[in-house]
Amino acid sequence: MSEEHDERLQVEAAQRDPACFADLYERNFFRVYAYIARRVGYRSQTEDLTADVFREALAGIRTFEWRGVPFAAWLTGIASRVVADYWKRSGRETGGPAPEAEAAVSAEIERTAMLFQLVDRLPEAQFRVIHMRFVEQKSIREIVGELGRSEGAVKQLQLRAIENLRAAMEADR
């Protein structure tokens, strides 16, 4: 089954029964998050706005019409408006990032979203190190305390995780 066909079935299922929205959410979460994170500086704002996009998408799922535009593009449209509203609301209409070449940006976002997905597939210990280091911004010392492994082992896990991620990204190029 092609990706597009697969997605189309998911959208139609969600339009009949919004309880099926979960599949679409999982499929697009990292993409929407990466899109917003690139345009908004702080984690809590990125989370707020990501939540807004999906709430709005769920509320409007029945209005989405299949016209050859992928569902992801529809979501990106909502995200772009939500971000613009955010900058307007914070009284910094010119505060947003400068417009960039659309195609280059969307390729960038796809790669970031893919990377986030790859992190989810890392072996447990590597996954935890990556999350503690980059999301929680913990020091190696703090991670050592939580994982109960030696400092050397944690640093090895970190390096191995990043090497795995890079290799997987390369493989997909």
Binding site: F29, A51, R89, H131, R133, L165
Partner: protein
């Protein structure tokens, strides 16, 4: 892959996380991956948003009343140098500053995450003489380490030697420090299953209020905001400690030591109703419920002991 390489690589990662630009050629591609990972979402957020969407009826997918990541209670600190206070919070407590800058309604607005709790910071020149400082009970993993880091960042120990890290008879290890902006911090970790913190987990921050009458304030909070009493501990006719639950948060108080009134922001379903209840319970109005330019509807009331409470909700 040697330990040496892993060590060198970690130094490069640390530099990246601290925003220092020291890209070493041999790690260039790996660090490009790391740079993207700085935006990696929290797993908890990914999961909780998914669950929220599952529960929602799309027809009434109304705006949730509070912002993602916020609890019912958010301490609000109003000082002349809010920007510097945020810097201090970063250095002393590893706070993540999530917002800083001019407020849409004028003045200054800053927000920082400390563990599981957000703090709001405001003020500027207009705050001189109108400060609302915080006295906060902050639960941490390691009191001694938190204490050392706070002192290194410019905090001073309160109450002399008594403020240094120690096991307290009321079931917690704690240290008391003051920051350069006049706020006080009780860095604490519960020793037993339930101490005076009433089941606090590390990363939680509770406003610690100092009313003339704790029983009076508890009664006010019950009537005005539907607070649930968790415990009142009295000694020699004085309430040494009391705690109440407000939504998913806890507010504490004691008559032990004097401290100026504080400010607390509250996320509630219906700020208008809350405002009316507070007035009926004896509060005075600071401002009537109104839609704010930042997309929330808020009200302000002052309790009979001078503390200010800002019930509000999101509008969009």
């Amino acid at each position: 892959m040697t330990d040496h390489q892993a060590e060198q690589f970690d130094q490069a990662v640390q530099a990246l996380l601290e925003g220092r630009d020291e890209v070493r050629a041999e790690f260039r591609e790996l660090l490009a991956v790391c740079a993207r990972l700085r935006d990696l979402p929290r797993s908890e957020f990914h999961v909780s948003l998914g669950k929220e969407l599952e529960r929602k009826d799309p027809m009434t997918a109304a705006v949730p009343y509070r912002r993602e990541g916020f609890r019912t209670v958010t301490p609000f600190i109003y000082v002349p140098q809010p920007d510097k206070l945020l810097d201090f919070l970063e250095a002393a407590f590893g706070a993540q500053v999530t917002h800083r800058g001019p407020a849409p309604s004028g003045g200054y607005h800053g927000e920082a995450r400390l563990g599981q709790t957000m703090l709001m910071v405001g003020g500027g020149a207009m705050a001189v003489g109108h400060e609302l400082r915080g006295s906060l009970h902050y639960f941490v993993d390691d009191v001694d380490a938190a204490y050392r880091q706070a002192i290194a960042a410019g905090a001073t120990v309160l109450a002399g030697e008594a403020g240094e890290p120690a096991d307290r008879p009321y079931g917690e290890r704690s240290a008391f420090v003051g920051d350069p902006f006049g706020n006080q911090w009780f860095l604490a970790k519960q020793l037993g299953p339930v101490g005076t913190g009433e089941g606090a987990s590390p990363g939680e921050i509770r406003p610690y209020l100092h009313p003339e009458s704790a029983r009076g304030l508890v009664a006010f909070l019950e009537k005005a905001f539907g607070a649930e009493v968790l415990g009142i501990y009295e000694q020699g006719g004085r309430v040494m400690h009391a705690a109440v639950r407000l939504g998913d948060s806890v507010v504490e108080m004691g008559e032990g030591a004097p401290f100026a009134p504080q400010a607390v922001s509250l996320y509630v379903e219906d700020p208008d109703a809350m405002y009316q209840r507070a007035l009926a319970a004896g509060a005075t109005s600071v401002w009537e419920p109104k839609d704010q330019p930042y997309g929330e509807r808020t009200a302000g009331v002052q309790d009979p002991y001078g503390n200010q409470w800002f019930p509000g909700r999101r509008l969009r």
